[in-house]
């Protein structure tokens, strides 16, 4: 089962994005796709809960946690006034998501992705300071290290990393002992080790010749699948004006060693600029791959040569 966030928006994006959404009637939604039954297609999951507002719901990063037979989803949401992380429970029978909780904090500026560690705890990437899209762009261009990795310890958000540069995608390693963070504009894949006090120490940094976005873990091998943007200026133009500008797509697989800290090799699973624009994430299940994009379509592939 694959959960997908759709309809990204927020003060971070330029006004043309809102026009692009209005044309196709796009709203913020969470969808479901079953890689075991791809013929079923993509289905929207209705969100229930009286504390939940659909109005300014713009979901971004997502993380799944299975606990005691229940499936919880943690989603980064860009609301009009601030960014939040919202927790849902997946009700399989009715295909609904029950909204359970909204997490807010003063340290939260601009969130991107989330990685759940427990029913009330998670890591999240605060990837910049400015929520305004012009200032965010400048922050990126100048190269300001205004972001941090945050940890919600059950009560509040705390900063657990050194200042980061555009750290966006985040996920836990297969054995849960390391935290993988991706710096998109920094073109890096970073491996952190959580200490006893939940602080993160950086133990490895790998330069990639592309702009990586979100990482997912292959549950069998522990390898990391990255949705990437190989041509930087094109994805920037595409996000600014999705209806006329096109961007290239790429999916890389980083082969990790037993310790989960070193990258032993890189395989390119997808490289395309004609059919799919702006690949941001990919997941692999039994030779089937689903590739998601920021604001274009999704692609379902069979992986035969690895």
């Amino acid at each position: 089962l694959t959960f997908i966030t759709s309809g990204i928006d927020g003060p971070l994006f330029s006004p043309t994005m809102k026009e692009y959404h209005k044309k196709d009637n796009v709203r913020g939604r969470i969808m479901l796709f079953n890689l075991e039954k791809p013929a079923d297609g993509v289905r929207e999951l209705m969100i229930v809960g009286n504390q939940f507002s659909y109005e300014d719901f713009a979901p971004h990063g997502i993380s799944v946690l299975e606990e005691k037979g229940k499936i919880f989803l943690f989603v980064v949401v860009h609301r009009a006034e601030e960014d939040t992380v919202e927790k849902f429970e997946f009700l399989e029978k009715t295909l609904e998501l029950k909204h359970l909780k909204t997490y807010k904090g003063t340290l939260v500026h601009l969130l991107n992705d989330v990685a759940a560690t427990g029913p009330e705890t998670f890591y999240t990437t605060d990837y910049g300071y400015y929520r305004n899209h012009v200032l965010h762009f400048l922050e990126q261009i100048i190269g300001l290290y205004y972001g941090h990795v945050l940890y919600y310890d059950g009560r509040d958000f705390i900063r657990v990393s050194e200042p980061t540069y555009m750290a966006n995608g985040i996920t836990l390693s297969k054995d849960g002992r390391h935290v993988y963070v991706v710096s998109s504009a920094g073109k890096k894949f970073i491996v952190y080790k959580p200490e006893a006090n939940n602080r993160l120490t950086k133990i490895n940094e790998v330069e990639l010749d592309t702009f990586p976005d979100n990482p997912t873990i292959d549950p069998v091998t522990g390898d990391v699948l990255l949705g990437c943007h190989p041509i930087g200026f094109k994805i920037t133009k595409h996000l600014n004006d999705p209806s006329t500008e096109i961007a290239a797509s790429q999916v890389l697989m980083l082969h990790m060693d037993k310790s989960g800290t070193n990258v032993t090799g890189v395989t390119e699973l997808l490289s395309d600029d004609l059919e799919l624009y702006g690949s941001s994430s990919a997941t692999l299940y039994k030779k089937r791959m689903l590739v998601g994009t920021v604001c274009h379509k999704m692609m379902y592939c069979e992986v035969n040569t690895l």
């Binding site: 890389l252 890189v266 390119e268 040569t305």
Partner: protein
């Protein structure tokens, strides 16, 4: 006084700009990109060409001639492989000649089949131990499966020959990667040339190249393609009536392009390339020992002889095959040659 200072400062700025541009070019040449590997299908490593397979060319019937032994520690050989042979055996061809060919190091090769008379001519570049570069022409004896030496072509213009392409039984274009010395490369000077041998004389067909290496011709013989390794581009020349060449297109491909093979039906180019030129140079210096240089195969689609889309068909970090210099395709199977070792045979299942 002020006027002199002004002129001097202008000159200084110009010199500074030129130096910075040259430095930037050099930086681009030695850039080491991250290698994200991918293959178009399953691949197997062949045996029998341990001394290298720097250049190869296929006949329409699936047979492939391979030149081996470019690096100085290996003995030069000409080998034969057959795509239709399921055992993938590579055998060494015996050379019959009244000259001593034992100290030879072979480089680029080209084959010409005479469709009327049925003869097969093979021309190969030989680096002799004396330091002289010559072009050796052979006739292939089908019955005895040996190469009979027919001619040696020498000329004072022949210097640092790299690759050649036969346009008839006894005429060819050949690339000279340098004119005088390696110093040319450090100073980024454009002295490499393409020469034409018309059966009796050698003359310059085109000049001004930086390390011209691979050369080949379109199926209709109207366009000649030249790979410039250090410029990371491929030049398209239009062949004139007098066999001179006029430059029509410069296609930058951002990789150390080596040898070019042309698909006889589609006219597409198959190019063996070195993604990390710095690593290649160091790898060659160590004669193929130690950390391998990565490999890449590009397919370039053509339109009326001009180069269009570039598709990366194969990329490897050197683990499957190091330092790929050439590739050719026969019925959805591709053989990739390496400067320093055995070739790789791949099925092309997933590629545009």
């Amino acid at each position: 006084m002020a006027a002199v200072k002004f002129v001097l400062s202008i000159i200084a700025t110009v010199v500074f700009a030129v130096v910075m541009k040259k430095l930037a070019t050099v930086w681009n040449v030695f850039r080491s990109p991250v290698i994200a590997v991918h293959a178009p299908g399953p691949c197997i490593r062949l045996e029998g060409a341990e001394g290298g397979s720097e250049d190869l060319t296929a006949l329409p019937d699936g047979r492939v001639f391979i030149s081996s032994g470019v690096i100085s520690s290996e003995k030069g050989k000409i080998l034969l492989m057959d795509f239709l042979d399921n055992t993938h055996k590579i055998k060494e061809l015996q050379l019959q000649s009244d000259q001593n060919m034992s100290d030879a190091h072979y480089h680029g090769l080209s084959v010409w089949q005479d469709n009327e008379k049925g003869g097969l001519t093979l021309a190969v570049i030989m680096h002799r131990s004396s330091g002289e570069d010559t072009v050796e022409m052979f006739k292939f004896d089908e019955k005895k499966q040996i190469l009979i030496h027919s001619k040696t072509v020498r000329d004072p213009l022949f210097y640092e020959l790299n690759d050649l392409v036969l346009v008839s039984e006894n005429q060819f274009y050949v690339t000279c990667s340098l004119k005088w010395s390696l110093l040319e490369l450090f100073l980024h000077l454009r002295f490499g040339e393409v020469l034409f041998y018309d059966g009796s004389r050698v003359r310059v067909a085109a000049g001004g190249h930086i390390f011209a290496n691979g050369i080949n011709i379109s199926p209709d013989h109207r366009h000649v393609y030249v790979a410039e390794l250090l410029e990371k581009d491929i030049l398209v020349y239009e062949r004139q009536g007098d066999n001179s060449l006029v430059l029509k297109q410069t296609k930058y491909v951002d990789s150390g392009v080596d040898n070019i093979e042309v698909d006889p039906k589609s006219g597409d180019l198959w190019v063996g390339a070195h993604p990390r030129i710095g690593t290649l140079i160091y790898f060659m210096h160590r004669e193929g020992q130690g950390a391998p240089s990565p490999s890449q195969v590009l397919k370039i689609k053509t339109e009326k002889g001009m180069l269009r889309d570039v598709i990366e068909v194969f990329l490897d970090d050197g683990g499957e095959i190091p330092a790929s210099s050439v590739a050719t395709v026969f019925k959805n199977r591709m053989v990739i040659g390496s400067v320093t070792s055995n070739p790789l045979l791949c099925d092309i299942k997933y590629s545009k």
